[in-house]
Symmetry: D2
Subunit: 343 residues, 4 copies
Amino acid sequence: MIIVLKPDATKKDLEQVKKKIVSLGYKPHVIHGKTRKVIGAVGDERGKFILQTLESLPGVEKVVPILSPYKLASKEVKPVKTKIRVAPGVVIGGDELVVIAGPCSIENEKMLIETARFVKEKGAKILRGGAFKPRTSPYSFQGLERKGLKYLARAREVVGIPVITEVMNPGDVEMIAEVADILQVGARNVQNFALLKKLGKVKKPVLLKRGMMTTITEFLMSAEYIISSGNPRVILCERGIRTFENATRNTLDISAVAVLAERTHLPVIVDPSHATGYSRYVPAMAKAAVAAGADGLMIEVHPEPESALSDGPQSLDFPSFEKMMEELVPFVRAAGRTFSLAR
Amino acid sequence: MIIVLKPDATKKDLEQVKKKIVSLGYKPHVIHGKTRKVIGAVGDERGKFILQTLESLPGVEKVVPILSPYKLASKEVKPVKTKIRVAPGVVIGGDELVVIAGPCSIENEKMLIETARFVKEKGAKILRGGAFKPRTSPYSFQGLERKGLKYLARAREVVGIPVITEVMNPGDVEMIAEVADILQVGARNVQNFALLKKLGKVKKPVLLKRGMMTTITEFLMSAEYIISSGNPRVILCERGIRTFENATRNTLDISAVAVLAERTHLPVIVDPSHATGYSRYVPAMAKAAVAAGADGLMIEVHPEPESALSDGPQSLDFPSFEKMMEELVPFVRAAGRTFSLAR
Amino acid sequence: MIIVLKPDATKKDLEQVKKKIVSLGYKPHVIHGKTRKVIGAVGDERGKFILQTLESLPGVEKVVPILSPYKLASKEVKPVKTKIRVAPGVVIGGDELVVIAGPCSIENEKMLIETARFVKEKGAKILRGGAFKPRTSPYSFQGLERKGLKYLARAREVVGIPVITEVMNPGDVEMIAEVADILQVGARNVQNFALLKKLGKVKKPVLLKRGMMTTITEFLMSAEYIISSGNPRVILCERGIRTFENATRNTLDISAVAVLAERTHLPVIVDPSHATGYSRYVPAMAKAAVAAGADGLMIEVHPEPESALSDGPQSLDFPSFEKMMEELVPFVRAAGRTFSLAR
Amino acid sequence: MIIVLKPDATKKDLEQVKKKIVSLGYKPHVIHGKTRKVIGAVGDERGKFILQTLESLPGVEKVVPILSPYKLASKEVKPVKTKIRVAPGVVIGGDELVVIAGPCSIENEKMLIETARFVKEKGAKILRGGAFKPRTSPYSFQGLERKGLKYLARAREVVGIPVITEVMNPGDVEMIAEVADILQVGARNVQNFALLKKLGKVKKPVLLKRGMMTTITEFLMSAEYIISSGNPRVILCERGIRTFENATRNTLDISAVAVLAERTHLPVIVDPSHATGYSRYVPAMAKAAVAAGADGLMIEVHPEPESALSDGPQSLDFPSFEKMMEELVPFVRAAGRTFSLAR
């Protein structure tokens, strides 16, 4: 930490700050600048936010942290990219670009199995489908809940594809972990710390979606919650942030892919369906995500988007999904990755 | 809903949209505009987001909702302001401006009782204090949890002041409801729907904080979750939104007070401590909130902010709190409200 | 400036950074931290952004500025509040709360004089009226231009009230300065540096509106442009920033009033009309601005808002303006200021 | 336009609104909804924002525009993509992906010519270089101004490459148009309407940068200003918007490329240097832009970024530029475009 004193800070102020720094276990190091004094507090500041309270002392102008606040999620601690094995032959964070596809909500067994078959045939490696749905309105379809999970388990078995589904309640984690190959944390729960801690106790990988207003640093801190609670298998998912622009549902923060690649060893995938909110923009954004270096994609696919019980406007129908997967091939190759379609 | 067709929509497209509208239980009403056709779907659209999926039909340019999506929280349904009786003589939403004050976290019994006594003496009507703390970092102080609740119950009894504390986990709702006079939902949990539904089953008032990323409409939808689950006693709390400006921790959306007063019957309070993040800006923002029409204030107070285990920089110390309360008097009067200090 | 080195920076990297710091006229001061080295560059960094380029050197992680980049606008350089005398008896930044009122656009001579008379009678001290209008669409009314200026000059003379009007083109500055008592820079031109430099050469006060996406620091840098070009008479105007919330046209950043009061000696006024975009929210926000410590208000008033050529929805009609001015009285008093109505 | 009445609007209110609609030249068309009445105003609403003032009438809840406000920039009016010929063999908006490269500021003749030679050799088609620089601080290097233009003219001649440079002042347009092959409008001037109008009178193409705060609709309205003033040769440039995220200087809105491709016939290029602010993220974002469908790229290149007078941290040095250009080849091919390097 760097503690900047006010221009009119007194000697007494300086002494008090130094004493406080020592009492917190750091070594103060004063630089006598031209217009004000600056104190470096030498010591490992990560996880010691307590230094921030120095801002309340008289004579202190501001406290500037120097290190990133995350450790276990950082590349500094683990420079090698983490590969997460989801099922035999399905690894996120390796050479292969992994596509996760399926409907927003599980609506019935038939549509789920039909979609699972189709997306698998066209190159998707993992099936998505929501059983417990976080909906802005209490009057919207809330998901089939337990029945949805049953259908998901069935699709997994019948079609032979690993599955991912969302968990919203810490109390449901174990039940869902019995069915799902990956547990998903939705954007609205990215700082639901009770849930994150619970997911640290589970033996399944967790896909953590970035919140609409989560900075990259906060996003990594949420991953740190899961890892430090015992589960190192975290997949990050950029899905758009909230900005002033409303031509798209959210704004896909494509540079987050590059920033995360620099800061963390965790794999990063992109969800262009939620980021844009309109199926017609999904293919272009999927290509951009691959070009930017994403390890995978998460795509909403529905046999009949105009009748979907949720997120219809952003779901690809079957022909559009097939077309997109084919168009992706040269981009995946250009990115130096393998792809199930690129035979 | 208004469905706008593309300029090149065919007759067949139009017929298909009309058919779909009818099948969803609405009556289509076509306006033949100069450059495109527009269809009004007549019927009560609230809670029927399913119309939005019409955007996936060929020939449809966009779907524009006309009504607000909330009902029970709206002034249209209940024009009279809701008064929430928290304890004998403590009513939020009535004539009196109610101040909630206390430390961010409960750190020990002594400091909590000391603070409770002080803020009560200076005019606060409710004591705040966190036992379960949502912290961005897993390495930050997470609260005293059950022990904190015990201290809170003790302060309530010894000092004779109702108390509010945060609940993060649906599984903790009942335990916390035994102690707290108001249950608080933090900004990060404003769309934790599992938690909101659970709070609909509780017999205590709920203070719902607006999320950093929550629009006013979404905020009211979250209140709607609690009300429609059975608990009409919801207090809204504006606590700053996230913007590009970082001179303050968040940006206090003071106009939300005026917008909410127009749209909802629920009482609205303002938390200038979290909104600004710096104690030196709190008094001016407290006055602005009163002037804008807030029903109450929530203020962080700590006997020794520079040693606080959380949120030190934004906590008022005792003398600053006392001074602020005195300075508030003429503003509370100007706003036509009563105030415990304004004798 | 503080230069943070990467954890793997070599001795050679350190030497190169130190050499570069010296070559730029600063004295390097190294702190050997636990996980990385940090270098303080001692010297007055204001106006010397060139240090930022050190980020391009090998081994450098980031460069953290310590001082604010503005000087002349800062309270550090001039601690006493600046009072700006606009006309005999009209001072912005003094004890009196000054209200500027009038139509968005000057539409004709009659309506301008009628409005000038009314707002003056009800306590406004300065008349606003746009002759050159910045409009998002080229097809919207662009203002009466020179003819508008003529009407403004006439209203000034006939009614006896100083006037403010906007200037958009550096080439128009002199012409407008002949008529206006204050020259206004609109939000979209807050970083139109050619215009700002030109306004530094003028002998009239300048009202500088904050841009929709201007940080407080950038806002003060724009003021610094005008002052450092020779004109110290700058009035700052907060008029709402752009955020994700769209219940209001912009989001009034009320805390900016408190932050600016701390950082600058320049007077600060608030424009609740542009900030909210709806006349029904203007009175509550005007009160909040006064309570937060604003030196004045800028209010759009139109005799017939539903026929206004621009900004109708946010303009108060005459009865609403009169009512608001009366309601403001106790708030202005509570803020310890004088007010023409508060006799 | 759709005018939504309040639930309690009277018959008289309805009649007044209808009368007003007729008086503005539209045909009212009433839909009697379940909870409120909705009026369609039939007529071409583009450029007639005056309808918005209906919001001021009693009984009106809100006014919802149906059409986009731009015409000449819209694909509806001109469905075929516009190709802009900048110089013999250099066309933006055609099959070839066009790279514009060069230093942020022109610092001296030697470095400019050296850079021009290098970037041309490595595949850039146009040289960028700032003579008049918009800088946040008045104390930062403001550009070499006229001398810079002279060097630019010289580099153009000596190296044989068309050039682009920024114009900030309407008064400078003609002078700069004599040297530049493309005139650039910077992000901060995107709504400098005096400048845009002036650029409509020029016979050179204009590159219009999106502002940090500009919606896509507003961006197209600014293009509409130039086109409707007489100059149809407008190139749009996405360069990042301002959001809450500060890991990057701005947030590259990559989906804007897809949205613009749908709405406008104008070519769209991307500037990853300004969008990210850090040279290390530029190559990944350049690839993403190509994958998303951009017609070109604008890249800052400097022979010695650590000594640059502006924007050093975001400038590529020569080896990095060369490497990026080579890595782009397969992505440009995957996007179905030609590239000077892709021989």
